[in-house]
């Protein structure tokens, strides 16, 4: 899914909407929500492997974002800022969760565009990552599934860059042993 940086021609930019939202305009908040909700929801589902917890994380993420919107220094950075908030929400949810059987309902979460190979790979990855602790799991998902750079992962997860590199390398090594490949970069 393409990150919705701006709403297209004629539509107000994220920066303009952020400024209006900070001024207390509810319509601007709603516009920001509708513009970014699908993107961050997809991110949350890929990180969590389930729709309902992902939806909770997105809801909490938007509430947190609108409350702290006045602290956002660069209004143009709203999409990445919102992504980092949602990532933290997913991490928080995973840490609070009790251990349980997380069988991935791929039909519920995958879009129609997803090929059979993509679905199989996603299920394998999720199943294998169930045995990996946080934040290693999220770091690797961000690296492999979201194709984020190490720097972006470090920023999103509040982990140092060196730690991110080390953890990514370790997980990739394991995946290679399992014949699952690794990140492209």
């Amino acid at each position: 899914m393409t990150p919705p940086g701006n709403g297209g021609e004629g539509a107000p930019s994220d920066a303009a909407l952020v400024s209006a939202a900070v001024s207390g305009h509810t319509w601007a908040q709603e516009a920001l929500y509708r513009r970014h909700v699908q993107h961050v929801f997809a991110l949350a589902v890929r990180l969590l492997g389930e729709r309902d917890p992902a939806w909770d994380a997105v809801q909490n993420g938007f509430i947190t974002a609108f409350r702290k919107l006045g602290k956002l220094r660069d209004p143009n950075a709203f999409p990445s800022w919102l992504r980092s908030i949602v990532v933290r929400e997913t991490l928080s949810l995973r840490r609070r969760e009790r251990p349980r059987d997380r069988s991935v309902d791929i039909e519920a979460i995958a879009s129609e565009e997803a090929t059979a190979e993509e679905r199989a790979a996603f299920i394998r990855l999720q199943r294998w990552l169930d045995g990996v602790r946080e934040p290693d799991r999220t770091i690797y998902l961000l690296k492999v599934v979201e194709s984020e750079t190490n720097e972006a992962i470090a920023e999103l997860t509040d982990v140092s860059l060196a730690t991110v590199k080390r953890k990514v390398a370790r997980v990739e090594e394991h995946l290679k042993k399992l014949g699952m490949g690794g990140a492209d970069d």
């Binding site: 929500y33 699908q38 997809a42 890929r46 939806w55 609108f66 997803a114 194709s147 699952m180």
Partner: protein, 319 residues
């Protein structure tokens, strides 16, 4: 691994709308919560302010009531200890001016009557001999002559003066005369009395300060009272008290003389008699030339005064 993020089925429009309603409600709830706490904080602040104000008002009211009650009950007046027949005899002193109040207020007439200079005090007992130094105790205590060591301010009216001529016990207010102010009944209350700064309370504040031995403060209160209320019936008493403090405690006979002269102008009755006797005494102390004439006038106006024997000696030679 795939080169694109795994495609996720989008959220339905209905869920998006419901999600927005949920987020909006949470934000408004948060805003309402903030307002709620702001109102609570404002209410608490208002309550504290009102409580503090009410506390101050109640305290002031209680202190006022306490002062009003204390004056007549705890501070015995000279009239309280004068035998009834003498009380009946006490009246307006012969006055040359007639412009001021003819009668020195009694305890029944005013709560300030306890400041009547005829009230015996230890500063009376320490009255200077021959205009200098400190004298012995009030004669009434020992039963000796009441007139010899008394200061001018300690005399009664003409009737009381004649009673004094008959015997010291009858005019020495012996129950209180030998006691220091701190040991007199009501002295504790006087010590506890607040130093009121309002002009109307300056007289009471002066008396309270004098009772606890703070003569400078007492002088200040009396001076302010006279300055603000020169026509008050207590102005003469206050001036006389100022003169007494200056002469007996602060060693300022020149200033004391001015206040005694002012007291002689403002006061009437026995206080005026006391003031004029004090004027003669201070003129003698200061060796002023007017001493003889003041002495002559006093003896002419008050031939039977309790102060007469001393006034005759104040100028250094018999008139």
């Amino acid at each position: 691994m795939t080169s694109r993020p795994f495609p996720i089925a989008p959220v339905s429009q209905r869920d998006v709308d419901a999600g927005w309603s949920s987020i909006k409600g949470a934000l408004e709830e948060k805003r309402a919560g903030a307002w709620h706490w702001a109102w609570v904080a404002a209410a608490i602040a208002l309550f504290v302010a009102v409580s503090a104000g009410a506390t101050v008002l109640v305290r002031e009211y209680r202190e006022r009531v306490r002062r009003e009650r204390r004056a007549p009950i705890e501070q015995p007046t000279p009239r309280d200890v004068i035998p009834e027949q003498q009380q009946g005899a006490v009246g307006p002193a012969p006055s040359g001016t007639g412009s001021l109040s003819p009668v020195v207020p009694t305890a029944d007439e005013s709560g300030r009557a306890d400041h009547d200079p005829r009230r015996p005090r230890d500063d009376d007992a320490r009255a200077p001999k021959n205009g200098k130094g400190k004298g012995g105790r009030a004669a009434g205590v020992a039963g000796g002559p009441a007139t010899s060591n008394r200061t001018a301010g300690a005399s009664g009216g003409p009737a009381a003066s004649s009673a004094a001529a008959e015997g010291s016990e009858s005019r020495g207010y012996s129950p209180l005369a030998g006691m220091s102010p701190k040991s007199q009944p009501g002295a504790a209350a006087e010590r506890q009395a607040p130093d009121a700064t309002a002009d109307g309370d300056a007289f009471a504040a002066g008396s309270a300060a004098r009772a606890r031995g703070d003569f400078k403060a007492a002088l200040s209160h009396y001076e302010r009272f006279v300055a603000k209320h020169p026509h008050d019936e207590h102005a003469g008493i206050a001036a006389m008290e100022a003169a007494r403090i200056l002469a007996d405690h602060l060693e300022q006979p020149a200033k004391a003389l001015r206040w005694a002269e002012k007291a002689a102008e403002l006061a009437d009755g026995s206080v005026r008699e006391d003031a004029r006797a004090r004027v003669v005494q201070l003129l003698g102390t200061l060796k002023r030339t007017g001493c003889a004439s003041a002495q002559r006038d006093f003896l002419r106006d008050y031939p039977n005064s309790v102060h007469t024997p001393r006034v005759k000696r104040d100028c250094g030679e018999a008139p």
